[in-house]
């Protein structure tokens, strides 16, 4: 294990971190506004990936063109889940909302299996030759993932800081009661938050499928590291989710230098647990 190998792992880590970041921003935004840990988030990722896959396989469109379709699907299903199920449960105990999102996760996963079957699928057929940079290797897909994530994160940042709706989301996340007495239409902002979170999850799903493969379980297995990333950054802080995603991604991949790869999720959790002990509100979390 030399420096080149570690750098190579760091690159893989940044790629994984990109995927986790996109997932974690959505989880964090939703938690910030609704105080709701959405366990169906991973399966929205899966659904978005399969929706994009449908476009690629039937229309033979390139993946970058299918990505927006997947994101729209993720947004629509998220909003529908909220309007049909979560909205009615919002005034009940948080645990009921949590369990209902478990149920929603199962429903979405089952639908994906029903439509596309349980077998693995892949965006890219055959093997793409990786590009060499000195001794380091990067596949074209990984470059797409990195570039796509950078573009999406910048777009989210501009949305949150420059638009009326984006600012209203931050205001709701800061102080829901004050937002209401200020005249912000909370329900409308909540719908937009679900749409944004769902779209970002779908993008994360497409990128995850691009890096690995499509399986009905792919999003569910990614959910726990995504929560770890969101918690690490400070739950409810979308900017923290970016930092958290990157740290968890890089730490998970780097850990394979000394541990068997099966321990990657364990590494993510170890980082999260240490964080919770040292700084319980997360890296960017404020005092409560």
């Amino acid at each position: 294990m030399d420096v080149t190998d570690l750098l190579q792992l760091a690159i893989y880590g940044v790629v994984l971190g990109s995927i986790l970041t996109l997932g974690a921003i959505g989880v964090s935004l939703l938690f910030g506004i609704l105080r709701f840990s959405n366990f169906a988030h991973g399966d929205i990722m899966t659904l978005g990936a399969y929706a994009a896959f449908a476009v690629v396989s039937t229309l033979h469109a390139p993946v970058w063109l299918a990505l927006p379709v997947g994101m729209i699907a993720g947004a629509l299903v998220s909003v529908a889940a909220d309007q049909l199920v979560y909205r009615r449960l919002r005034r009940t105990q948080p645990v009921i909302l949590l369990i209902s999102s478990f149920g929603m996760a199962l429903i979405i996963r089952s639908l994906v299996q029903l439509v596309w079957g349980p077998q693995d699928r892949s965006f890219v057929k055959g093997i793409d030759m990786p590009m060499h940079f000195g001794d380091l290797m990067v596949s074209p897909q990984q470059l797409w993932i990195l570039g796509g994530t950078i573009v999406i994160v910048i777009a989210v940042h501009l949305f949150l800081t420059r638009t009326r709706m984006g600012k209203a989301m931050r205001a709701m996340s800061d102080n829901m009661d004050l937002a209401r007495v200020t005249g912000i239409d909370a329900e409308k902002v909540i719908v937009w938050t679900w749409a944004l979170g769902g779209a970002l999850a779908a993008a994360a799903g497409v990128f995850l499928a691009l890096d690995t493969r499509l399986t009905p379980m792919m999003g569910w297995s990614a959910l726990l590291p995504i929560f770890a990333a969101a918690i690490l950054g400070g739950f409810g802080k979308p900017y923290g989710a970016i930092v958290g995603g990157m740290i968890i991604g890089v730490a998970s991949e780097m850990s394979t230098a000394v541990l068997p790869p099966a321990y990657k999720p364990a590494t993510a959790f170890a980082v999260m647990v240490i964080m919770l002990v040292v700084k319980p509100n997360g890296l960017l979390g404020a005092r409560r």
Partner: protein, 237 residues
Amino acid sequence: MSEHLLDMQSLIGGYGGNDILKGASLTVAQNEIVVIVGPNGAGKSTLMKSAFGLVKIRQGAVIFQGEDITNMRPDLVVRRGMSFVPQEKNVFPSMTVQENLEMGAYLRKDGGAAQQMERIFEIFPRLKERRKQAAGSMSGGERQMVAMGRALMLDPKLILLDEPTAGLSPLFIEQTFERIVEINKLGIGVLMVEQNAKQALEIAHRGYVLAMGRNRFEDTGAGLLANREIAEMFLGG
């Protein structure tokens, strides 16, 4: 149709469970500063919040500019020209001063927000200096300015202030009262609950003394200050 800006008539209600208000009434005329004082637990804040749809009113009516707004949702009350500044947590801490003010104009569709912000910067020059600073990193007195500025963004007819000087240093208390007078001079009615009753009554046109959810006394600010009985009971001698 009454000539009052705000007319609260024999309100009975609370936050569910026991009633806190037991028949309290209050009016605010156009352009008036009205202060509610009284001992702890008298229902001062509750009475004020009931104008804003934050309290469940079982009996009685809240009339604002001739319209019955009893138990109306806060975001609908705001649209009608009434703003509320809560006592605590009254800013969006992670957002800048300017963004806080922009949120105050969230409902505004006429494009007058930028102009209104300039007007607010005239009242609170400090906010202009600090417009890019996160509201959460400011002192209590500055946060109170941000909160009042936010509430003024819609150019309301009436502003409700819940203990605007709570926890402030004496210097800031004085400044805050000066600003309230200035706001009132713009033609905005002010209804506030205050612990610093003496100072508040000095700037008030009228005041109400509340006890046990009912009206106890009602007079001009000067009249209440001159009243021996009230001074002994509620104003700390």
